[in-house]
């Protein structure tokens, strides 16, 4: 299939079942809300090495936050509900609670919840206090600029991680420009995040390694420099650069929509092919067909 003259391979992205949470950070102004969100989502590119994947979903206007201050919505994903809970405690405790003027609220309605504020409250050393408002319990932890308010429990739900697109271009500049355009288009979809640096990853991985200690290693099939030495290459001669975009979401629909928008934005001059990473359908619970997305099926 051709999309704006770019070949879209008849394949699928293989995605995985995960658990996700949505966190709302508010602060005195957007600068400090973003500072906390960036800190919380730093070093959260892949569960392989970071124990979770996280990203900024969107800025939230003050009129839509519980305390009427500017907010930032963050999505965080892990391999289990328990794992998400642990990561939330670590990252909210170290990155949000420490950031001036912030407060942190659950922004995901779910029957399954994990304790967060009820653990972080102990930092208050006995001076903490709880408030129950409209059925939600909040903890006030005294801090040097006043108080840190954090919700007692956060909702978690089954989610999907590992949706992906591979953009194959002739050279670095046009491939990078295509990836940037795709990221911009994909970020307009609520409910998804692109966990890698500014949404783009250049070292896609395959499962396993010749070194026993590693569970993943470089995706040699898509490395242009290995075209001549690996028998697994998937690259035509004219491909000089491959960039990947990974998508995590709370639901499958938004991931598919993001991939659809991403492909349309990435199909531009200098890009030869758009494809997706999979493991032959053996590992992931979700198979997202690229042609199906473009055909609306």
């Amino acid at each position: 299939m051709l999309l704006n003259g770019v070949a879209v391979e008849d394949t699928f992205a293989e995605a995985f079942a995960m658990w996700g949470a949505r966190v709302l950070i508010t602060a005195e102004n957007e600068k400090w809300g973003m500072a906390a969100a960036r800190a919380m989502t730093g070093f959260a590119t892949s569960v392989i090495g970071c124990k979770c994947e996280a990203g900024i979903e969107s800025a939230v206007p003050a009129a839509q936050t519980p305390d009427s201050r500017p907010g930032v919505a963050v999505l965080l994903f892990g391999t289990s509900a328990e794992s998400v809970g642990k990561r939330l405690v670590e990252r909210i405790g170290q990155c949000v609670m420490t950031c001036p003027t912030t407060a942190c609220y659950n922004a995901l309605a779910s029957d399954t919840t994990v304790p967060v504020g009820s653990l972080l409250r102990y930092f208050g050393d006995g001076f903490q206090a709880a408030k129950l408002l409209d059925g939600r319990r909040f903890w006030r932890v005294p801090a040097m600029d006043g108080e840190f308010v954090v919700e007692e429990r956060f909702g978690v739900q089954p989610a999907i991680g590992g949706g992906n697109l591979l953009i194959l271009g002739e050279d670095t500049a046009p491939t990078l420009a295509a990836a940037e355009a795709a990221v911009e288009a994909m970020r307009s979809v609520p409910g998804v995040i692109l966990p890698f640096p500014d949404g783009v990853v250049r070292c896609g991985s395959k499962v396993g390694s010749r070194y026993k200690a590693l569970v993943a290693s470089t995706n040699d099939a898509y490395c242009p420099t290995l075209r001549a030495v690996t028998g697994a290459t998937q690259l035509a001669d004219e491909i000089g650069c491959v960039l990947e975009i990974v998508i995590d979401g709370l639901e499958l629909g938004p991931i598919e929509e993001a991939m659809r928008r991403g492909m349309k934005a990435a199909a531009r001059p200098g890009v030869r092919q758009i494809t997706a990473g999979n493991y032959g359908g053996r590992l992931g619970q979700y198979k997202i067909a690229l042609h199906g997305l473009l055909n609306g099926t």
Binding site: P66, L132, G146
Partner: protein, 269 residues
Amino acid sequence: MSLTLTMKNTPEVPLEADAICPERFEGLGAAQAAAIAVLYGNRRAQLGDFFGIEGQGDGEIRLVGDCRRVKRIGAGMTRGRLVIDGDVGMHLGAGMSGGTIVVKGNAGDLLGVEMLGGAIEVTGNAGHLVGSAIRGGAVGVRGGEIIVHGNVGNETGSGMRRGLIAVGGNAGDFTGVNLLAGTVVVLGELGWRSGAGMKRGSIVSARSADLLPTFSYACTYRPVMLRLVLAHLRQRGLPVTEAHLSGRYGRWSGDAVEMNRGEILLLEQ
């Protein structure tokens, strides 16, 4: 279709009507509702002796007329909605644990006394001991919300353990006396000796106040939690202004006779 009770014979002595509770009327027609027993002074009577009743019980009851001598309406209520067009007497919503009561008028003393949950909204004024413990009781409100748009009398929130009481106007003396926890917000003035004997919890006022000497000034700051509470109350229709939301509040810790773990927050003038 809700059940409408319209006052036709105003009682001359108190009418104890804890039977007026939405769940008691579910599935009942007007005739069945009229036969429900009430206590008129020290005599047994029927609801139909005082109210003209129309409609069918579907979880909502509307009371119309002067109910100032009708006591204990909605007492022990667990669900449903009760709307009162007019003034209402003492003990409205006493011990209720769920549902909503709306009074389009004034309420008497002991409004929501020892309430466990649910919500009460009064568009006018309310009497003494709003959301308090009954006399001799140690614990008052244990959950839920009481919002009074006008003024309230003395001892609002006495012995309160949990929940939210909000007053759009002024509060009388001893507001939050013996408070155990929970929040009392007064957009107007606090009376004397507010927070006397409080252990924990928050008393908030948008005006300055004379506090007991057993309260110590801590700092003036912008409490984030209060923004949360005030934004919630603004959604509920109280006249919370931007100055209330974003203003600085003086924090006073007390009562010292109870280990200083409570707080009174006064908006900086």
